[in-house]
């Protein structure tokens, strides 16, 4: 992308889009499951963005601000996750915490594999 918007404007526009996307998904999949879905999808997305930048320089700084800090950062949420875990009672709460943390990290791992190993070729580190 060749863009001249300020860092702040990029983050704001991205943040608008990410929050609206999260709201839409919560419309289809409400409550804890919706939050889990946005968080895991966001983890896969940020991993693709960051690892393709780290390994191949795929996205410049402005693109990372727009997509990473703005869109994806705003799409995922920690506050609703914490609130829902607290409110769900001990058993569901703990399961929800484990699901978000473990599937979130798995999402980052999946994104990394998609970037480094797209055709089943050798693992690049």
């Amino acid at each position: 992308m060749n863009i001249s918007l300020s860092d702040e404007a990029l983050v704001c526009i991205g943040g608008f889009c990410g929050a609206v996307g999260r709201y839409q998904i919560n419309d289809w999949i409400p409550s804890l499951s919706g939050t889990l879905v946005v968080n895991v999808l966001g983890c896969i997305a940020i991993s693709i963005l960051m690892y393709s930048s780290i390994f191949f320089g795929a996205f410049d700084r402005k693109s990372r601000l727009f997509f990473g800090v703005g869109v994806i950062g705003s799409f995922t949420t920690f506050s609703a996750f914490a609130y829902q875990s607290f409110s769900a009672g001990p058993v569901i709460g703990i399961l929800n915490i484990l699901a978000n943390i473990l599937l979130g990290l798995t999402g980052v791992f999946i994104g990394r594999v998609m970037v480094t190993n797209p055709r089943g070729s050798a693992w690049i580190t």
């Binding site: 860092d7 702040e8 983050v11 704001c12 526009i13 991205g14 943040g15 608008f16 889009c17 990410g18 929050a19 609206v20 999260r22 709201y23 919560n26 968080n39 966001g42 983890c43 997305a45 940020i46 991993s47 960051m50 601000l65 990473g68 800090v69 703005g70 994806i72 950062g73 705003s74 799409f75 995922t76 949420t77 920690f78 506050s79 609703a80 996750f81 914490a82 609130y83 875990s85 607290f86 409110s87 915490i97 978000n100 943390i101 979130g104 990290l105 999402g107 980052v108 791992f109 990394r112």
Partner: protein, 120 residues
Amino acid sequence: MDHLILVGLGGAAGSLCRFEISKIATIRGIPLGTALVNILGSLLFSLVAFSRSPGDLYYFIDVGVLGGFTTFSTFSFETFRMFEEQNYLVMTGNILINLLGSLGGVCAGYLVITGLGGGV
């Protein structure tokens, strides 16, 4: 106002605040900016949610501003990087700070609202 617009405008404001706070230092390998937005955001989210605020306020502040202010993707990515770099102690510390801090924040919000004789 349409909830979609409220959520979007809130998300823009929340993301900008997170961007500014995320510039603060990383101490002992822990990205404190991410932990700070997640803990503070969870506390504020809980204050609005437990007070059973009217719909517009909930959508603007909680779904919009605080949803955009806090982030799960950056937290997971930073945690995964610590795992990758075999900083298992730092990784565990990072998970515990974010998790216990945000749950503590929600709990504190709950106690403030119920203690004030709010809607719960």
